[in-house]
Symmetry: C2
Subunit: 347 residues, 2 copies
Amino acid sequence: MAETESRRPEPRYGNRPTMKDVAARAGVGLKTVSRVVNGEAGVTPDTEQRVQEAIEALGFRRNDSARVLRKGRTASIGLVLEDLADPFYGPLNRAVEEVARAHGALLINGSSAGDPAREQELVLALCARRVDGLIVIPAGDDHRYLEPEIAAGVATVFVDRPAGKTDADVVLSDSFGGAREGVAHLIGHGHRRIGFVGDQPRIHTANERLRGYYAAMEEAGLPADDAWVSLGSTAPERVRDAVTAMLDAPEPVTAIFAGNNRVTVTAVRVLAGREHPVALVGFDDIELADLLQPGLTVVAQDAATLGRTAADRLFRRLDGANDAPARVELPTRLIVRGSGEIQPWTP
Amino acid sequence: MAETESRRPEPRYGNRPTMKDVAARAGVGLKTVSRVVNGEAGVTPDTEQRVQEAIEALGFRRNDSARVLRKGRTASIGLVLEDLADPFYGPLNRAVEEVARAHGALLINGSSAGDPAREQELVLALCARRVDGLIVIPAGDDHRYLEPEIAAGVATVFVDRPAGKTDADVVLSDSFGGAREGVAHLIGHGHRRIGFVGDQPRIHTANERLRGYYAAMEEAGLPADDAWVSLGSTAPERVRDAVTAMLDAPEPVTAIFAGNNRVTVTAVRVLAGREHPVALVGFDDIELADLLQPGLTVVAQDAATLGRTAADRLFRRLDGANDAPARVELPTRLIVRGSGEIQPWTP
DNA sequence: TCTTCACATGACAACGTTGTCCAGGCCCTA
DNA sequence: TAGGGCCTGGACAACGTTGTCATGTGAAGA
């Protein structure tokens, strides 16, 4: 009876007990254990208890990998965002998690770090894990690589920015309208030379917000000088240089519109170090923005609703909804706190 | 040759092509496809190309669930923290992700919401997925439920707080020392009646920080009145009430030590609404803390290092390290920005 | 008492992959 | 030309689970 380990396929991985072990110990068949574990009907209380005891004694826990293989559904979804550490994505992440949890699914997530190649690598790794669905905040602008996956049944919803070169569900904020409203707020307080500092032009939202800026300027009959617009990385150094350049130009801007939360934070820092305050409105709300002096006026988007809406949509698809890909646009909200009301000032 | 679908086990799940399909199309054996997919040696360039073409044509992607089942390792780790939306955990989350990525592993994560039952549910779900390892920020104080899992080979590292009633690796900040230093800073600026507002007493760090508070008071020969100490939920209402009560007491506190970032944020808000400023030092750094008036003095912990250290430790274990569970304590850093220097004031 | 039937239970195949092992073909050398 | 070794390729089992189906049992009904 001495079990020879010699010809085992080797890995063994911790030697966890399997249903077979449980069955042997409880003196029942394999399928009966399966039934108990899954709470299926058709097991005598007596038998059930014997099985339960064996499970307890062996510390058995069902191997979901095997289950997945058999059933086809993994009860997990993937979320690819730009940076897990960015506070803007925290509430979004959490909202997606809550919806997933309500559907009994786990959440696998990762950061693209804004790199399209890394986004693709991550997404494909998730597909290999056979996640049931994907929520993606695109870093790249070409998502044709996803088409075979989507065709194979991986439900996919994009958030915050639309997919590139492919048709898919997308949930986003009204970047254009929000920026227009924010810039109009500055114009309403007498500003005529307004700077726009935004994210890289590759990013959809950066362009939309810039479009909103131009629209507001145009509606007010104001010229929009190229020197007042700067798109690029949101790294603090880049933003600092851009803002400083606008403030020190021959015709300095008297107000700045910051294209997202990263830009806003750096802009606030730069302005705080200047002798003469300049008006500022930022896209995205920021914790403690209300406690700055003056309070920071922002165009807020609701990250949690963004995430929740996307996740709801995803699970609707997983439940079989089959309508054409749609675009859901959520409104933004201008939160006036004072920083947009600083009067224009010229040396 | 008409394939009868009738007796299929039903789910089919998108009908993805398998290695068998690829093999058939390329006119080679199953194992040869496997070899190509895994980059194993022993395949003629010619054969390899035929296989690659078939893979391309069919849009084949290896099913990692099946692979996992066969190999035993899932190349994924689980991270259970308190709240994905809490900005404190963002950098930690990201740091863990980076380490996982460097090891080719995916990250599954979820929020316990501070609920021990939910923590356990989540952890066990992760174990059922057979994650290779777990990083847990404990919500509960009894982790004996994890012992069978750990015994079965699930590497586990606790972060931020030690595990309850079980011996395991833990990486945390020096809460005691940090709080003591923060409170000493206040004492050094002349404060004698100092309030402490912290998280629920069930939470290990809350107690450690309170211990630090008492130590600093005692070292300065100051009494520590019970009315100056308040532990409980970090919900804004609770914190607001606690802070307000301390400020409006017959013998009001002249300074407050806030036990974590959630408490600090609310405390700042309450103080901003008061006529007379009171000194404040908070545990955990906060974005924009430097831009408040006055700048917010904090005891900062390095969340990213916390996460990176824990993840490194986890993967060392996965690589076979087998030393006794250890406790790693990272130092905190007092960042003086002014809010701790406000002079004591009495009506 | 014999059928009928419901119900509890277990044997077995299949999910898609990888490890093991064997077969056949080729080239090289004696 | 025979023998040997190397290289490529494929057949097969196994990973742990679940769906299908067959079997056995006892109770209810005729």
